[in-house]
């Protein structure tokens, strides 16, 4: 008997997917904001694992480097600069929370139904296994050079804006 490689890949996918969704749900349920942030890290790191399985290794590294290394630290920093009221309920009013959950569930059902019933043509049976770093680099500087520049300008604007807004007067 030979265990096919796809089964291992599938096991990895389900593990990471379950971790990502569990992290996201715990993020919402957690009473403590710091715990929410830690659960968000779990979600982001698991999404990185999913990226690897879907054949995007460069993107997985970027995901970990930027999200965990920068965005999460930034969020935790903001968390510590704004002392939280532990007493106050973190959730909105029950009505708003329930209606929010219903809306989200509805959107999930509709999109799931759509994407399951759609006939996807021209798709492969398994994710492509090519080295992506070089191709992404080349396409960033040829096909997508304009979006790339716009993103750079956006970064600059965001950086200056953040400094201006958060500066103590």
């Amino acid at each position: 008997m030979v265990i096919p490689m796809e089964l291992l890949v599938a096991g990895g996918f389900y593990t990471f997917a379950a971790a990502a969704i569990a992290g996201a749900i715990s993020l919402i349920i957690a009473r403590n904001v710091f715990h929410s942030a830690l659960f968000l890290t779990l979600t982001l790191a698991s999404a990185g694992g999913v990226f690897v399985i879907l054949g995007a290794d460069f993107l997985a590294a970027v995901q970990l480097l930027i999200y965990v290394g920068a965005v999460m630290i930034l969020i935790l920093f903001g968390l510590m600069l704004t002392p939280q009221d532990v007493e106050l309920p973190n959730l909105s009013t029950p009505g708003q929370a329930i209606s929010g959950a219903i809306v989200a569930a509805a959107i999930f059902v509709v999109s799931a139904a759509t994407l399951l019933s759609a006939q996807w043509s021209g798709t492969a049976a398994e994710p492509s296994d090519v080295a992506t770093t070089e191709q992404i680099g080349v396409s960033l500087f040829t096909t997508f050079v304009l979006p790339f520049e716009i993103a750079s300008v956006l970064f600059l604007v965001a950086m200056i804006g953040a400094i201006v807004i958060a500066r103590e007067r």
Partner: protein, 358 residues
């Protein structure tokens, strides 16, 4: 698997090769295909962790003796010949020390935080190649992944500082966050210089591109990038003179103020493992990795990593701790511009070289 620059029989270059093949043959006879590979990988990881733990114990002793030497002292010399068993005694003591969890602490986070620090610092080692084909995982985005995994450490330290419910711990955690955000950028940018030079982000590829000349000797960018990488690396692993997160003269023991016994030892282990990992990374990126004459490759990489670690110890024994604003100033206004200029210059050089070659 090619053994390009190894002048020895394959057994010497890859001492685990024979054992690996034997175990693989044994397992393959019993269980179906992917399982032997998985089992071997797990075995390799376990061996690596054991080696790293032993190395860390040697590092602690070497550091204490070296700092003593720098300060004209003797250093630990009572347990075992020249005190080599000192770390064994330390570990034994820390293992049996009471494990305190403060009453107000956030229990779950407090318990998990040291593991969040330790696990990435050990996982980094699975990506570092010890010789041609001698790495647990050789991925083509190696350098990015190493740095990405390394940044998890910050998160664990921040969580530890927050979970301790102690003002000093929190301050230490905040300092770690600010410091690592500042020094992560120069670290990554200066690590990209060898990537540009080699034309690949795979650690094996970077090492193989240094077959004729080490990156640190590639004038004029090599030495500068190496220096920036080393400084940012010291800041990244929170060692003196950048050990502000645990500055005892200001904030008691920083993020690990409330940690005792084995949990504290885990932080300790992670810090030393990270120091050696920075050494290994510097060796891979700038010092030719496992390449070197006569000796087998893994010995060369170990020597180089340990040499960089000794430089770290030397710096620790020489320089006083920086002030916080000096640290920030240096990170953003000195290290970052220098590394960016170096990267730009490298890009120009690489395209000029490629232009003349074409």
């Amino acid at each position: 698997m090619s053994f390009l620059s190894c002048p020895f029989p394959a057994l010497v270059c890859n001492p685990f090769g024979l054992a690996r093949d034997g175990i693989y043959g044994l397992l393959a006879a019993i269980v179906p295909e992917p399982l032997p590979t998985v089992a071997l990988t797990v075995l390799g990881i376990a061996m690596l962790i054991a080696i790293i733990a032993l190395t860390v114990m040697s590092q602690v002793w070497v550091e204490r003796r070296a700092v003593a030497f720098l300060q004209e002292r003797l250093g630990p010399n009572r347990v075992g010949p020249a005190g080599v068993l000192q770390s064994v005694a330390d570990v034994l003591k820390l293992l049996l020390k009471e494990d305190l969890i403060p009453f107000k602490a956030d229990r779950a986070t407090f318990v998990v935080a040291p593991l969040v620090v330790l696990v990435p610092s050990l996982s980094v080692w699975s990506l570092i190649p010890w010789g041609p084909g001698l790495a647990i995982a050789d991925v083509n985005v190696g350098i990015l992944l190493v740095l990405a995994i390394g940044s998890f450490t910050t998160l664990g330290i921040l969580a530890a500082g927050w979970a301790s419910a102690n003002k000093y711990s929190l301050l230490g955690g905040m300092r770690v966050a600010a410091q690592l955000i500042s020094y992560e950028v120069p670290l990554v940018v200066s690590a990209l210089v060898p990537v540009l030079w080699a034309g690949t982000a795979s650690l094996q590829g970077i090492i193989e591109s240094q077959a004729t000349v080490w990156n640190v000797f590639v004038l004029p960018v090599g030495p500068i990038a190496f220096l920036v990488f080393l400084i940012a690396g010291i800041a990244e692993v929170n060692r003196s003179p950048f050990d502000l997160p645990e500055a005892e003269s200001e904030i008691v023991a920083g993020f690990h103020t409330e940690y005792s016994g084995m949990r504290f030892a885990l932080f300790f282990l992670a810090e030393y493992s990270n120091s050696l990992a920075i050494g290994a990374l510097a060796a891979v990126l700038f010092l030719g990795g496992w390449q070197g004459p006569i000796l087998p490759p893994y010995v060369w990489l170990f020597f180089k990593a340990y040499a960089v670690f000794l430089i770290l110890v030397w710096i620790r024994g020489t320089l006083p701790r920086l002030r916080y604003d000096q640290l920030m100033h240096f990170g953003w206004k000195v290290a970052l511009p220098i590394s960016l200029v170096t990267l730009g210059a490298t890009a120009v050089l690489v395209s000029a070289v490629q232009g003349t070659a074409a």
